[in-house]
Chain length 194, copies 2
């Protein structure tokens, strides 16, 4: 891989934080304002960092190879969005697999099967301080959903070809979920090839 | 595709907004607090929506098939992140292709070639109100970068196999960028197959 300028140390480029305060702290969100200086001496103040609990999402399939998706209204975009089931990792939950199992059950009713945490990302490295975990679940089976009172979720089942078509044709509007789905399928291929 | 509950109208499930105010408005960010009611009568107040300019990112390759990536410090994660070049669509910029061309030049120096907007997403449908545009650029050529004063960017060149390896092994920490890269490569494959 080419690198025109050299990489230096791992955290080369890190900003110095001279001061920090929260401008917002509510149940599921924190907005932190950091007063920063870059290594080049440029003042970046304030720089806002969004604090959320970690997110977990699950690429779950049943024994027939059908993937379990959740369609629900999302107020950010003001419309419906088809996504991988998931949500916030609760305080005290240290295992993304267990959080994924809980969220999958609550949102879709699916459970059982085998859960494996396969990758961890940032939802948005420039702005978010939290992590987003991808869990792969296989051989899940249907059951009764227990959505939160404010959630109204349709379960959508799609075989692999339908899932790829959804992603390629704009049926998945969430860029991170496009990433989680295509990476999950890619890791499946790698595992079955190797 | 299976659908256990039926989909209803396109905006079935939309919340009613009873009131709205901004709790933060600064140069590149707005935090809006909406007082909402779900169709089921549940009060969701406040629900915070993050307002940013639209984002644009470009999957750019040179004539040798090497992809142009940008590595820089990202203060949200507090470390380096390798991403597709890009940034905010400026006010008055209506063409994602032109915004991508400007950002690619500023951050990496690469220009020329052919730019095509290929897809549009939400960076985070639950929380963000803006759009994220993916632009594909081919046959770009190197030139002089013009980064912002606060930016310190390393250009990373990777052929397709190296890019896929980066994505699969955690070298790309940004979930949306994993999505943009894998979708862009997938659309390339589809075009060359069809």
């Amino acid at each position: 891989m080419g690198d025109r300028n050299g990489s230096g140390g791992r955290n080369r480029g890190a900003w110095t934080v001279r001061g920090s305060r929260h401008v917002l702290r509510d149940r599921w969100i924190g907005v932190r304002a950091d007063d920063c200086t870059t290594p080049g001496g440029v003042d970046v103040s304030p720089y806002y960092v969004l604090e959320f609990p970690d997110f977990v999402h699950v690429l779950a399939s049943d024994a027939a190879g059908r993937f379990v998706l959740a369609r629900q209204y999302r107020h950010g975009v003001g419309g419906a969005s088809i996504e991988l089931p998931g949500g916030n990792v609760d305080a005290g939950e240290t295992d993304p697999g267990a959080a994924a199992m809980r969220e999958l059950r609550e949102e879709t009713g699916y459970g059982g099967g085998h859960f494996e945490a396969v990758a961890s990302f940032s939802p948005d490295p420039a702005r978010y301080a939290n992590r987003l975990h991808l869990v792969r679940a296989r051989d899940v089976v249907p059951g009764a959903a227990r959505p939160d009172a404010a959630e109204d979720i349709d379960v959508v089942l799609a075989d692999r070809a339908e899932l790829v078509r959804l992603v390629r044709t704009g049926g998945i509007v969430s860029a991170p979920h496009v990433g989680l789905i295509l990476l999950g399928l890619s890791l499946d291929d790698e595992a079955s090839a190797g």
